[in-house]
């Protein structure tokens, strides 16, 4: 099932390396932006009074770089590695790959510049300036042409589940991006526009990040565990359930808004349905782990993957409740939602990306990790920092929601949130401290004299 050896002509490791480098650079930018923004809530904003570093603008950079700089780049790297190995065919063109790489980073730089100069767009998760949007759509189309070509032309008999997810995501991503960034901006105002934006917010997570993320998991987990996925039937249910239910839950971001109620109910039902589907996927992966659970201790990549999956389980469990009207009365517009978003984007997909970073970076630079212990530190700092942040923000959300519902003066909800916002900043510092180890390890590994061997997956508790 998994293609073997002979990677050289298959995988363009240079491209993989560049995307990984870009991914880590944008991760750093995103995290620093998030930290600065968190400090605003302690009234300690480091760039106060500088127009183009205003907290509102920096927040756009924080979220957009997390999604399009960090996650998208890393996913492209992962797909550039996985697709040729699964199809036994290289990507369409290495030159095109390089062009897409450069174009994508250009989009990111333009996005940062545009947002800081005040050209942000008022679409959540689509704050990329309007003049960048066409570039991104073109970039996505080129990317699809480049990396879908081996899937379409493969001689392999039967497509592996990873490729189902990738193919569906290819169709989804461009459509979703176009829909979300253009319809509410130019043609559909008000409540109907809000419905479409809600759809976009959710589709970005559900139809771009999630399928590619799961696709990569279906590829990397069996690869590293050296055993096939537990149940083919469950992966079928998982894929078709996701494909059917995920696209129809956008409005759950605006419950109790003046969007027609049938759309709100539909979104709630579809969201609860998808949590059941999620359960089957999780069962499948933990079934795969069964019998090899010592890998979680011994293999850092696997540990990241499964930590992310546990986070995914928690997220979806939380989601099934918070999407109900009952919960929404209290938690809507509160920090609970912020905690939830961090758990999904960083706790799940960020963690998976760290997992295959651990696996791909030594291959991409052709050197073994220099300081494996630093990676272990990275793991613990990041995980503990993030869990602290999630618990803190969830609790803060409840405090805020009940404070508002109790009709206490607005200032009460702000003042009562202060301690939570301090803890959030500390948690953010902890996560960033973890990334410092990580970045240093990346740097030191790339600088180490070449040995010419591709190392085996490293044990986490080594050194």
């Amino acid at each position: 099932m998994i293609a073997t050896v002979d990677r050289r002509p298959l995988v363009n490791l240079t491209l993989v390396r560049w995307h990984l480098i870009a991914s880590s650079i944008f991760l750093a930018i995103s995290l620093l932006g998030g930290l600065a923004y968190a400090f605003q809530f302690n009234n300690m904003y480091p760039f106060a009074g500088i127009e183009w570093l205003s907290p509102g603008r920096v927040r756009m950079v924080h979220t957009n770089m997390a999604a399009y700089g960090f996650i998208a780049n890393a996913f492209i790297a992962g797909m550039l590695f996985a697709i040729p190995r699964l199809t036994k065919r290289p990507i369409l063109s290495d030159q095109l790959g390089m062009l897409i790489f450069v174009a994508w980073q250009l989009c990111m730089v333009l996005t940062i510049g545009g947002q800081l100069l005040g050209y942000g767009q008022a679409i959540e998760w689509g704050e990329t300036p309007i003049f960048v949007d066409p570039l991104i759509v073109v970039g996505l189309v080129l990317l699809v042409v480049n990396i879908a070509a081996p899937i379409v032309t493969t001689a392999e008999n039967g497509l592996y589940v990873t490729l189902w997810y990738f193919l569906a995501a290819f169709a989804w991503t461009g459509l979703v991006y176009f829909m979300g960034n253009y319809l509410p901006q130019f043609w559909v105002p008000g409540t109907a526009g809000a419905a479409i934006t809600g759809l976009y917010i959710h589709d970005l997570v559900g139809l771009f990040v999630t399928p590619i993320g799961w696709g990569l998991m279906y590829f990397f987990v069996p690869l590293l565990l050296r055993k096939p996925i537990w149940s083919h039937a469950l992966s079928l249910i998982g894929f078709w359930g996701l494909a059917f239910f995920y696209p129809m839950q956008g409005v759950h971001h605006f419950l109790f808004s003046p969007i027609p109620m049938y759309a709100q109910y539909g979104a709630v039902v579809a969201t609860i349905a998808i949590e059941i589907v999620v359960l089957t996927v999780l069962v499948n992966f933990f079934g795969t782990l069964h019998g090899r659970s010592e890998a979680v201790r011994g293999n850092l990549a696997i540990r990241w993957f499964y930590t992310g999956m546990i986070m995914y389980g928690i997220t979806c469990f939380q989601c099934a409740f918070q999407v109900t009207l009952t919960f929404q009365k209290v938690i809507h517009f509160s920090d609970w939602v912020v905690g939830h978003a961090h758990m999904v984007m960083f706790g799940v997909f960020g963690f998976w990306i760290f997992g295959f970073f651990v696996e791909l970076w030594p291959r991409a630079v052709g050197r073994a990790w220099v300081h494996p212990r630093l990676l272990t530190m990275h793991y613990w700092f990041t995980v503990i920092g993030l869990i602290l942040m999630i618990i803190d923000l969830t609790a803060a959300g409840l405090v805020q929601g009940y404070s508002w519902g109790a009709l206490s003066h607005w200032s009460k909800s702000v003042m009562d949130s202060m301690p939570f916002w301090w803890v959030r900043s500390v948690a953010g510092l902890m996560i960033i401290a973890g990334q410092v180890f990580f970045f240093y390890a990346l740097w030191a590994t790339a600088r180490r004299p070449a040995e010419g061997t591709v190392p085996a997956p490293i044990p986490a508790e080594a050194a």
């Binding site: 109790f256 027609p260 109620m261 049938y262 009207l325 009709l407 206490s408 003066h409 607005w410 200032s411």
Partner: protein, 313 residues
Amino acid sequence: MSTRKPRNNALLALMLAVASFLSISAIVRTALGAEIVVAEEEQLRHGKVLYASYCSGCHGVNGDGQGPAAAMLIVKPRDFTSGLFKFRSTPNGTLPTDADLMRTITRGVNRTSMPEWSLLPERERMALVQYVKSFYPGFAESGPGRPIFIPAPPATLGSPESIARGRQLYEMLECGRCHGPNGLGDGPSAATLAPDSWGNPQKPFNFTKGALKSGAAPEDVYRTFMTGLNGTAMPSYADVFDEPDGENVKPGDAWNLVSYVLSLRTPSRPGTQVASEEGAAVNAAYRGDLARAGYTAPLPEPAQAGANKESKP
């Protein structure tokens, strides 16, 4: 002699009873008084904390109206140390009651930077009242004035006759010298008014442009011209209306002036359309869906016109 002895005893018993009653009540009073003093101090401490987080930005930590925001505000924040308060139910020149201060804090002052604080718990607003009073020693020395009596508004309030009569009074009492012939605040004296007692420029009120400062209930307007606004050129007209001479001013005329002032405020627009036909349809569908789900009570119905909230013309 034997006859006087029981009387002596009775007198003695009475004296003893009185003495013990006085001493016991003195002890109780002292104890209770101490308790009250402690409670008052506690309230002041509470008020000080609240004042620092809600009021000090404009009114200043010293209550002198010189908070950090004061320089940027056009209608200047009140200086509590002056002892002059505009919105009172007490006669001109006296201090306001606790209820007056409470009302101003709760409602805010429309068309100025003073927001409403109705969502602060009553206990906190009361503590703020006590703390604000502590800036001016007169509150402790002489206390507030005696509130005026505001009778119930008559049924004729707001009728065309009442408004017309109010217009006559408005002209007769020369309200227009400051407030302008049509209540626009552009009377002949408007430009020449001396600064108010706090040294800020005075501007006669324009009745036509939105909310009234101290509330738009008939009683609020009545109260304002019967008590005047301390520290400003707005006098009290209590002497005119309290003893009507029967010729120029008749009993009950005060309410006619209220009618006229309120008629300036709200240009009535009968038959104002609330929503387009299509808009009303989608609203009704939305309301219906929510109602079926059990969320009925707070939804705005077109029939609920004239809500409690002070609104724009």
